[in-house]
Amino acid sequence: MPLENHEKARFLLHRALVEGISLEERQWLEAHVRECAECGRYADLSARAVRALDWFALELDPAAALRVENLVRSRAEETRSAETRAKSLWIGTAAAIFLTFAGSAVMWRPLAWLAGQWNLPSPVWQIGFAAFWWLPSLLLAFLPLFRKRLLGDDSDSNGETV
């Protein structure tokens, strides 16, 4: 039997195990393995090597498995509630910013009129408006978002241990 037939058989045996071979190749291989004792032994050894992996079944510790499950469950719940809180904060911040600007638009004309009545120069009342209207509103709007950083509060961290 030509040497290349043995090489081809081993190549096909490997491919059959790893990724599969065509029907035609399988038929050739089976015929060759029937005729060639050496390749037959090799095929048997390959199959046994694959089956041998089944011998190493791990014994599971149900308590350990349950511990992991409970821990992951509670972390998932913590993460979900932290995300819900974060979402509410963002919505609150967006609403506060919107109200700040909407309120500014409403108040601008009356304040301009009042400043005219009191003969205040435009830059003065506009700076006052920014300092006493925009600045506090925007600070209050953003404060909750940076609360954790400002207070160093990590009580509701959402899992940064890994």
Binding site: H14, L17, V18, E19, Y42, L45, S46, R48, A49, V50, R51, A52, L53, D54, W55, F56, A57, L58, E59, L60, D61, A64, A65, V68, E69, N70, L71, V72, R73, S74, R75, A76, E77, T79, R80, E83, G159, E160, T161, V162
Partner: protein, 198 residues
């Protein structure tokens, strides 16, 4: 550097979509069931990587924490298992790297007269071996580098496709195929002359 595989097997099963949705929603009930369902497979994969049962158990927990952190990255278009195993793999590699650095540091200290403790663990493969053949295979598995054990496990125990294994191992399909061949050759050599015993 190995080429990163770009063509992964796409699945149309709704299960992967369900998993992706549950992860995004942080559905603790569903996630709890998944932890239970994948526990053995994940543990086995990590044992194959680290050769240490206790370490593998710690890494299983860390893997799930990482899964929760990265839940948004899983879109459900590919199967869940390769994604899960690739997270576990990265954690195992990180841990082994840290361990190597620590060992290296201890060796340097040892040169200065500090005693390095011998590893106090038994191979989990050897512990599971019930026959002489199994012991030979256990020794062969223990001697194999983790990348070869990983390739064997993912192909023959997890039955992942070559493309999926390549995704997990971040290697080309041909590299994965060679790793499987090399791993099998080692096992064949260990079995050669012995008798089949399960």
């Amino acid at each position: 550097m190995v080429a990163v595989v770009t063509a992964f097997s796409r699945v149309s099963e709704p299960e992967s979509q369900c998993i992706a949705r549950a992860l995004r929603r942080r559905d603790s009930e569903f996630i709890g069931r998944m932890v239970s369902r994948y526990h053995y497979r994940l543990l086995r994969y990590l044992v194959y990587w680290t050769s240490r049962r206790e370490l593998a158990e710690d890494l299983v927990q860390e893997t799930w924490m990482r899964v929760l952190e990265r839940a948004g990255q899983y879109n459900g278009r590919l199967r869940f298992e390769p994604w899960l195993f690739s997270i576990a793999r990265n954690l195992a590699i990180d841990h082994l790297r840290k361990q190597q650095t620590a060992t290296h540091r201890m060796c340097r200290e040892n040169e200065a007269g500090v005693e390095v403790p011998a590893p106090d663990f038994e191979s989990p493969f050897f512990a599971a071996a019930r026959s002489e053949d199994a012991k030979r295979i256990a020794a062969a598995l223990g001697a194999l580098e983790p990348i070869y054990r990983e390739a064997l496990l993912l192909r023959f125990q997890e039955e992942l496709s070559l493309a999926e294994i390549a995704q997990v191992a971040r290697a080309s399909i041909s590299t994965v195929s060679s790793r499987i061949q090399r791993g099998l050759s080692m096992l064949q050599a260990a079995l050669g002359g012995g008798t089949d015993a399960a």
